[in-house]
Symmetry: C2
Subunit: 455 residues, 2 copies
């Protein structure tokens, strides 16, 4: 909630996390009594280059946003101070709440372009106003879950850990990235607040500075082992990786004598596959076969595939930038569009941005082996074959029942990934079939014809 702090409103308010035009439009809707039910749908227009699917995430944060949406006295005062809004409109905002219905794909669902992921049905001002923050949340967590899913597919059997807070775009990005990556199959996060807020397993080793602050590398290892003996992982690339591995081998028996078990070593630079092989040999020769190798530094799904092909003896990966910044697709072409107002389907026809009108449902067919066999986007209410992906999740502004736990969403996501067509699981080019229902095409043509008559 927003508060005045040092004379300014905290930028972390959710009600003011909006575009000015939403308030402008609200004022106009208000003035003209345009408060009939509106249906908006959120969807992606197209896949980024090299991508074959999206994974939905962020819905839980949307629930929090919608259920708590309210302008605090501080926020109303701040809006008043802009001198843009008359008192009667601020009075209206004072009582403004979200009372609408939401249907959505569960978090962890694999989906494709043109498929609505979230549908909001509410009085027009409400359904309109929530656009900005709803997009902001679903877009970002879907960016991360979709990217993380690729890494999970590229490294079967490996433990992936989120190291990305420092290169995430601000605090919320870091925390929500940890969540979305965990849903997609990451094993843990280094981000303390994300671990605590969401119950995600925490993981962390040491930085180079810890080694550098000591005059002697072995002494640094020893200090760290004595101070943090649990899940002990030592960083060995500060000066010379293999030389440090030998120091670790010399130290391990001494630690063992004190009851401290070395859990792993971490490599963070150079040719990770080559270093891992050498370090593995050094550790094995010293009887440290149970010591795991963790690698970090510039890891992305391409490198994971390559290291997998090499059979590099790496047990776990720390992944930062490539996860939280999603460099090949840091943004998705997502939209939240009015599809129906006052019972009448609507269609935007802007060049290259035309939408399929009306409320829609996505039906998914499966092959005999359970793998995804094709989707159909059809008008809502029309019975079609397969599994309907959009489910009722909010009614009258409140959640319907408890949300799935993060563990449940993660298991669901894993099942989704397992059911992907084989080329998509191998991250190879493949166009999954998304059919547009004939009734939907007919409706679009009918609306176009009608609006041409009017123009």
């Amino acid at each position: 909630m927003a508060e005045f702090r040092d004379g300014k409103v905290s930028p972390l308010s959710e009600a003011l996390l909006t575009d000015l035009y939403q308030l402008n439009m609200l004022a106009a809707y208000r003035k003209y009594g345009m408060e009939a039910p509106a249906a908006f749908e959120l969807f992606m227009r197209k896949l980024p280059t090299r991508r074959g699917f999206f994974m939905a995430a962020g819905l839980e944060q949307v629930f929090d946003f919608l259920e708590s949406l309210a302008f605090s006295p501080g926020e109303l005062a701040a809006l008043e101070a802009t001198r843009r809004f008359p008192p009667e409109f601020l009075d209206y905002l004072r009582d403004f709440r979200f009372t609408g219905d939401v249907d959505a794909m569960p978090e962890g669902t694999v989906f494709f372009p043109d498929e609505p992921v979230v549908r909001v049905v509410a009085p027009l001002p409400q359904a309109q106003f929530v656009e900005t923050r709803l997009l902001n949340l679903i877009h970002f967590e879907t960016v991360i879950a979709s990217k993380a899913a690729r890494m999970v597919l590229a490294a079967p059997g490996k433990q992936l850990v989120d190291f990305g807070l420092r290169r995430a775009h601000g605090s919320e990005a870091g925390v929500l990235a940890a969540r979305a990556a965990y849903i997609a199959g990451f094993a843990a996060t280094a981000t303390v607040s994300a671990g605590i807020a969401f119950g995600i397993p925490l993981s962390g080793t040491m930085a180079h500075s810890f080694i550098q602050a000591h005059d002697d590398e072995t002494l640094a290892f020893e200090h760290f082992a004595h101070a943090r003996p649990d899940s002990l992982v030592l960083l060995i690339d500060t000066y010379d990786t293999e030389r440090a591995a030998e120091k670790v081998c010399a130290l391990a028996p001494r630690l063992a004598a004190e009851g401290i078990t070395l859990s792993g070593v971490r490599l963070d630079s150079g040719d990770l596959g080559a270093h891992a092989r050498k370090v593995r040999a050094i550790l094995d020769a010293a009887g440290l076969a149970s010591v795991r190798i963790v690698a970090s530094g510039g890891i992305d799904e391409d490198l994971l595939l390559e290291l997998g092909r090499q059979g590099a003896p790496i047990d776990a990966y720390g992944i930062g930038t490539a996860l939280t910044a999603s460099p090949d697709a840091p943004a998705l072409d997502c939209a939240y569009k009015l599809q129906e107002y006052a019972g009448v389907p609507r269609r935007k026809r802007s060049e290259g941005k035309a939408t399929w009108p009306g409320r829609k449902q996505v039906w998914r067919r499966r092959a005999a082996d359970g793998s995804l066999a094709g989707d159909l986007v059809a008008p809502e209410g029309a019975a079609r074959e397969g599994e309907p992906l959009l489910r009722p999740v909010m009614r009258g502004g409140r959640r319907i029942g408890p949300s799935p736990s993060l563990a449940e969403s993660r298991a669901y996501a894993a099942a989704q990934l397992a059911a992907l067509p084989e080329p998509l699981r191998r991250l190879e080019p493949f166009r999954y079939e998304v059919e547009i229902d004939a009734d939907l095409r007919a409706l679009a043509e009918e609306l176009d014809a009608r609006s041409k008559q009017q123009a």
Copy 2:
């Protein structure tokens, strides 16, 4: 500050916005009394492809973070509940504050790889602990300011407006992107909380849904004009751009008769240059030469350059994704490295990631016309020619004097951009000279030789 909310700690706490390894290292430093002064420096390793310079931003948020850094009772309870930390360490965290010194380049400074942007000198645990959030803030705002500066350079004389909250990575990213873009020369933002928190001019028009919710486009324009008569900009590409421009021309005299002045029209799809020329002609023919054309939709610096070459009659641009996601460089290769501990310079030698040791200063030379002529990275304290870029900004954990206002930082950034070498101002490939001082090279060699003897 963190609070328990619904039984969980708010993820927006700043003290827990950290990597687990920071706490692990703190525990070790604490145990071994390693609390001598440490100097860390934040710098970028290399420029992204196609980029010629960085622009520093985020320092003000770092001040807020460092001055307010403290673990709240709720945060300490949450850490205790993880069972990772003994009571005496939690007691230590209870009194943990930042009491160190910071030197930094002012926000808006143009800088280059290998140049320290921020230097922190503090007892080792403090200087270490602040790493994650400090990187998170400086990295992100620098990503945005550096990207925004390119757009500003690509569109001289045009008004650029941030439309990017919905595609930003979470809420803080959206709000801080507005700030960083404003410093770099953007004129306004659509993000209400950013406008209010930072005093950035707000700007906003209407969405397609507003038009679509009306059965008639002209009626939608009229309603909006009557509800929001100030700075009136109408969106004209929902169905047919030129047809809508004609409707606007028919409506404008009626509005004028009521005292409502049409300020602009907005295009959001198709070939923006071609539409702008046609719309300009339609408006001019109707005597609406003063009505401005605003364009949005997929705008980046390349398209700005292209539209500039075409002489497209566009007065202002709304820029979303290309600003807040910075797709060509959503992350920078930044590092925060220990350069000195207990008075002794330190050097990391990891492959491809070696650092220049010790505390450093950046000296900037200027040509006779005032343009930037080359930088020198030298040991701190050594007098060199030119302007020293790192300035004292915090001492003993507190700001030295008031920060520059956002307007002052913006003016400073504009002067920096104006002084860039000509090819950089045209966004053309150009390698700006950053020399490493001979004394610094000698120090690095000396440290390497000494550590080889020890190994």
